[in-house]
């Protein structure tokens, strides 16, 4: 009798314990203030879920699928899966569903972690155009040599999202490029056996575009000097594919003939951005115009400098190629370190499109010393920054046309007081804003059934 009573008591106790456990399992969890994720810090439609050990991968997939969700990956930790829940569920709803699931031990958003934006290049602190903290440029030749914090192209935030533009070939049509420079050697275009020196030379009519001047090398470095390699500087793109097209001689002079051959070469060998930091005052150049038209037909974006004579390119005498009106051509004015229009910079309310930093710019240089750098000033430098941005946009958006690039560069910039009435957009380039810029949809139609 006593044994029976003892047995009954034990059974009752066991039952009570089991019941209690079930009740605990059935208690609803909901995101608390402490567990609520901050929008923007996680992937919008994903959660990480840890299932109880009893469930194998196949079972986990079935459980997720039963909710209308999808397993993206089984993580390298037992029980953990990455799940996409998709619209119209919100993050809070998805988390609550899994927390209330008795098969689940834990669920959380798939948080986003970002690398430190600033690269470790030794002279990065002198690149005020990329990060202006009011620093003094020790090698400055233009006054002011220091400026306004925040007056820069806002590229660091963009580097959280993309640093590798090497899928987009950028042609530097200039004095050549010092392709042995330590910060450029790894970022030059691979032209294959036919072009072992990463481009060609229409001055000496050979395939060696080595730069005897320095100007083209400086431009190339702004566009795509290797970033975060603990050396020298970085370009707008940390990784790039720079095509060296020499059309200007050691004195920095070239002709219509060499330039149109250079443009045609760049187009026919896959460049999708061409930078030309060169200028001429005078009448229309039909042959050059035709070369840019051919570039347009091949969806190539062309970026050019406005010139350095403090000239109104609209009213004070035309400057080419800046004054060409092709839709694939963008002409660039120069700012100083306070984002005032540089004293030497040309402008034009209908001919010059945007502005970018152009004074006291440190970049790679020509010479036998592989670690040579130099600081120079001009709209040439401003143009190079925009060419780097154009490459970044095309790398980030592989479907982009030249029109998309031009829109994102010009309309994605930010208003600059010193450019109001002096450029088409009145804007300074803003790399992060351009990366987030979205063109309005086109081609809307409606058909009543």
């Amino acid at each position: 009798m006593k044994a029976l009573l003892r047995l009954l008591a034990t059974a009752a106790l066991a039952g009570a314990v089991l019941s209690l456990l079930n009740q605990v399992a059935a208690v609803s969890f909901a995101p608390t203030a402490e567990t609520a994720a901050v929008p923007g810090s996680y992937v919008a439609d994903e959660v990480l879920v840890k299932f109880k050990p009893v469930f194998a991968a196949q079972s986990r997939t079935a459980i997720v699928a039963a909710r209308g969700h999808a397993v993206l990956a089984n993580l390298n930790r037992p029980g953990w899966v990455r799940v996409r829940f998709g619209a119209p569920q919100t993050m809070a709803q998805a988390l609550a569903a899994y927390w209330n699931d008795p098969d689940v031990e834990y669920a959380q958003p798939n948080y986003i972690y970002r690398a430190t934006a600033a690269p470790n290049d030794t002279q990065y602190g002198q690149l005020w155009a990329f990060k202006n903290i009011g620093q003094n440029i020790g090698t400055a030749s233009y006054i002011p040599a220091s400026g306004t914090p925040g007056a820069d192209i806002n590229v660091e935030k963009a580097w959280d999202h993309i640093t590798d533009c090497s899928s987009v070939v950028v042609a530097v049509v200039d004095t050549g490029v010092n392709y042995t420079q330590e910060d450029l050697a790894g970022n030059m275009w691979n032209g294959g056996p036919g072009f072992p020196h990463h481009g060609t030379d229409f001055v000496d009519s050979d395939n060696d575009p080595m730069d005897p001047n320095g100007h083209g090398t400086h431009v190339a470095g702004i566009i795509g000097a290797a970033g975060n390699n603990a050396k020298g500087i970085t370009g707008v793109c940390w990784k790039a594919s720079i095509m060296a097209v020499r059309v200007l001689n050691a004195a920095g002079i070239g002709t219509s003939a060499s330039i149109i051959q250079g443009v045609d070469f760049a187009v026919s060998h896959g460049a999708k951005v061409i930078n030309m930091s060169l200028i001429r005052g005078g009448d229309f150049d039909q042959a050059f115009s035709s070369a840019i038209t051919n570039a347009q037909a091949n969806d190539v974006a062309v970026v050019v400098a406005a010139g350095n004579e403090a000239n109104d390119n609209d009213a004070g005498g035309t400057r080419y190629p800046c004054n060409f009106t092709h839709p694939n051509l963008t002409c660039i004015a120069a700012f100083d370190q306070n984002y005032a229009l540089a004293s030497f910079s040309n402008w034009g309310a209908t001919s010059v499109d945007v502005g970018a930093p152009g004074t006291n710019i440190l970049s790679t240089w020509a010479g036998t010393n592989a670690s040579i750098y130099n600081t120079i000033t001009g709209t040439s430098m401003a143009s190079a920054e925009v060419a780097g941005l154009a490459a970044m946009l095309r790398a980030y958006n592989p479907q982009f046309t030249f029109a998309d690039v031009v829109n994102a560069v010009t309309k994605g910039g930010r208003a600059a007081a010193s450019l109001a009435g002096k450029t088409v957009s009145g804007n300074a380039i803003d790399v992060m804003s351009s990366l987030a810029f979205i063109n309005p949809p086109t081609g809307l139609t409606a058909a009543v059934q």
Binding site: D174, T175, N213, A251, G252, I253, S256, A257, A287, N308
Partner: protein
């Protein structure tokens, strides 16, 4: 190349000259040759042929000016070098009405500095 360097030196002088004052000879040249102040390579012209035209049309039209070189630059554009440069106005006038030649222009000078592009 040597021609270009010589031109650059000459332009340096010309730029200095124009900054200092007027030069009657240059004004007469400007009246008859609007390109002289716009920096071109003397004796060099870019001739664009009409579609399917033969480059022989260049010799036929401009041979009298002692052509020393005709170089195909692609896209029907040819760099023509003359010993006896008649000037852009004459070159332009001669091609008018010629069905084989679409356009002719001087080989213009560009650079990294500005309109004169003096070193």
């Amino acid at each position: 190349m040597r021609r270009l360097i010589a031109l650059a030196v000459a332009l340096a002088g010309a730029a200095a000259g124009t900054a200092c004052g007027d030069t009657p000879g240059n004004s007469r040249a400007a009246a008859s040759d609007g390109w002289s102040q716009q920096t071109r390579v003397p004796g060099e012209y870019l001739v664009t042929l009409a579609a399917r035209a033969d480059h022989k049309a260049i010799s036929d039209l401009y041979g009298r000016f002692e052509i020393t070189d005709i170089r195909d630059l692609g896209h029907n554009v040819f760099l023509v070098t003359l010993t006896d440069d008649p000037g852009p106005a004459t070159m332009e006038k001669l091609h008018e009405g010629n069905v084989h030649i679409k356009s002719v222009q001087p080989n213009l000078v560009y650079g990294i500095r500005g309109p004169g592009n003096a070193p």
